[in-house]
């Protein structure tokens, strides 16, 4: 009985830990039409309206828009597509990542000043 309880507890902890580790921290979008900071500002403003959105990072050269997710939060693909369409841009792909936004920025060669 005790052995069964311990095994159940262990499994619960393993799965809970696994789920937490897999929770996405950022959303990465490949976007067409990103040609100037002036215009991309509209994307940042559109995405920051979502309660789950934290900081937004834009890399014009790599056509990347990355959104930091607040803990436990997410934005659906449909909402992301709508936000980008309403901002006037074309989303090519959406990917969720466990990478932090800082890691993405570092990989893109951008750091906070």
């Amino acid at each position: 009985m005790i052995r069964t309880l311990l095994a159940s507890l262990l499994l619960t902890l393993v799965f809970a830990g696994s789920a937490a580790a897999e929770a996405p921290r950022t959303i990465r979008m490949e976007v067409n039409g990103l040609v100037c900071a002036f215009c991309a500002h509209g994307i940042q403003k559109a995405l920051e309206k979502y309660p789950a959105a934290g900081e937004v990072f834009v890399d014009l050269e790599d056509r990347l828009v990355a959104v930091e997710l607040k803990e436990g939060g997410d934005i659906t693909d449909a909402d992301l597509g709508t936000a980008m369409t309403d901002a006037g841009y074309t989303v090519v792909s959406i990917a969720r990542s466990v990478e932090t936004l800082d890691a993405i920025k570092a990989a893109q060669g951008a750091t906070d000043e």
Binding site: F57, V58, D59, R63
Partner: protein, 231 residues
């Protein structure tokens, strides 16, 4: 990593045929236009703009509820090349994005607008109702910019047209959050009693996500300055 392939093209945004892209680039290279950025900045933007040159002064404010349209008003003063003719127009204007192509490393747009206002001038008495229509086509990458623009003003006392073309080159690819630097060449031609010969201007353009500054000099040695702020 979860990944979803999407293609959310905004209504009016399509992959642009290469022939059209080439035509826009060539048009930008061949024609002329004033020192204006896009008439619609981005969804939700309020744009305040000032453009001052030797024979033109324009101040305007626009708000864009959508990236597809904006509305606002302004005041534009023109002088003929010899300074003899002066006209001023206060107007309200609607801008519309007719078509946008979002490409992997470029964007192209076609805008149109219409205005109504009141005009005064030293070559006619009193004030006249004024009507305006115009269009702008642009093609832009992170290092290359081309734009052609044409607009007409009509009143009971005069009709004049202004054509503008710009070509720009960025010496480096700017990062979002930093300042972009561009070298821009501009050709303007006015018709309808304002000016008969094209005016050439070379400008330096600086902008970040909210502020746009252009400063240059025309072929007469006169300064040209444009400032635009987005809120």
């Amino acid at each position: 990593m979860m990944r979803t392939e999407l293609f959310h093209a905004p209504p009016g945004a399509h992959a642009m045929p290469r022939a059209l892209a080439a035509a826009l680039v060539l048009a930008g290279a061949a024609l002329a236009a004033p020192a204006h950025a896009r008439p619609i900045a981005y969804t939700g933007a309020t744009t305040v703009m000032a453009d001052v040159g030797s024979d033109t002064r324009e101040f305007s404010v626009f708000h864009a509820p959508s990236f597809r349209w904006s509305a606002g008003g302004g005041w534009h003063a023109f002088e003929s090349g010899d300074g003899a003719t002066e006209r001023e127009i206060a107007y309200v204007r609607g801008n519309r994005l007719l078509k946008r192509w979002n490409l992997p490393n470029a964007q192209a747009n076609i805008f149109a607008w219409g205005s109504i206002g009141r005009a005064t001038g030293n070559d006619f008495d009193g004030s006249q109702a004024a009507y305006n229509a115009g269009f702008q086509a642009d093609y832009e990458t992170l290092r290359f910019y081309s734009m052609v623009k044409s607009e007409w003003w009509h009143t009971g006392a005069f009709t004049h047209r202004m054509d503008t073309a710009q070509l720009g080159f960025a010496p480096y690819t700017h990062r979002y959050g930093g300042w972009a630097t561009w070298l821009v060449g501009m050709v303007e031609n006015k018709a309808g009693g304002l000016q008969g010969t094209p005016e050439y201007t070379v400008m330096l353009r600086f902008f970040n996500e909210t502020t746009w500054i252009e400063a240059g000099v025309d072929d007469d040695g006169d300064p040209r300055l444009m400032l635009m702020l987005n809120f």
